[in-house]
Amino acid sequence: MVLRKSSKIFLSVIKALFLRELNTRISIGKSGLFWTFFEPFFQIFIFISIRVAIVSNGSNSVTTFDYAIFMASGFIAFNMFKNILSGATGAFAANKALFNYKQVKPIDTIFGRLLLEVFLSSIIVLLFLFIGFLFGYNVEPQNIVMVFFAYVWILVFSFSIGLIVAIGNIFFVSIGKFVGMFSFALLIFSAVFFPINNIPPAVQEILLYNPLVHFMEMIHGYYIYELDDRFVDYQYMLYWTITPLFIGTWLYIKLEKRIISQ
């Protein structure tokens, strides 16, 4: 058997893992195909509907921008972050049997799940755009390039955090549990439901330590005409992306063999 090039092996492994993750979800039952796409869609849809209903009925309903679009643009990105994180947490343990195939490296399983998440999120974005268009919302972003860039950035951010959590979870199971609880709390403190401008300055200062707030503000600022990115600290975001990426990669290179042997 001819030994193949490592880049080629990597690509075929990622492709196979992605198809397997997708197949695993689709084949859960008779309506597997439907729920694979619509479960995450409905989850987000319900959240957005509740939030929009509260805003339009509440006393502070003097919003100058469309809350539905505000919620959808940010929450899809947040959901992607949350799912990549939880997917990465269990990726090594769930795919342990696959390490019997020599060309499957643990990190490939994270890539496989990440790709699936990107794929599902893209479908959800398209569904929302379609529905928004159908019901006459103004779904056109202010700056589509920057919104796209923000989505890619949060993807890299999610991967680097996910990698560290995945490695940590192998050696200390409590980390995975902690992340599960934490990511739910993050939903409330990540400026997904409100623009940071609406918050008292004293609380603003604290919330801005959370890198996700910056990502959400960036997406909202570039999507919605009435909002801007005045609170976004791009340097802070960069630190939060590069540092975990560096630490995660370093830990991974150090510990790859131990993860396979576990």
Partner: protein, 220 residues
Amino acid sequence: MIELKNVTKYFRTNQGKRYILQNVSLTLPDGNIGILGRNGTGKSTLMRMLGRIDFPNEGKITSPNSFSWPLGLGGGFVGNMTGKANVKFVCGLYGKSYEETKEIITLVQDFAELGNYFEMPIKTYSSGMKGRLSFGLSLSFDFDYMLIDETLSVGDARFKVKAKEALLKKIENCHILLVSHDMNTLRELCQSGLLVHEGELEYYENIDDAIERYKEINKS
């Protein structure tokens, strides 16, 4: 050829480190090698390390050859995917083209004799059926070395005969690393033997010598 250089392997337990190999250096010439040793001495771990799906704590194992996954291994199958989809997945891992994949699917289907079950989820399979599927899958790929871990006894009596015939035919073109407690199987399939004993590794060019030594160890 497989080369071991200052290889040390241990497991951490509550009672401290339990050594499987302690600073072993050895060169194994190509051939069908049987791995012997008492329960818990680390035969399977050794086989996995030689096939480079497990790694020593210190030292290096190198080889220019390609190795299979442990043959007959049912792990890695997804329960709610069909047998066919699982076969496709492994083909994908090895970067097989569409035609090659189709060919392998036919081969596995014919060999495993699962009938309609081939298109049904793995979770509906009996353990014997799973074993047959993975055995057929392993035989459909070409490697320099096949790793076999006491899994020659899958399926019913008729399938056992068929599996053995297929395996004998397969090893005309490749070598095997076989872990087994069955001396007859070892004699039949292997020329040389590797004995794991108290952190040491003993290589015997003739499998009979290895079996002889193994019996000696068992007596004491």
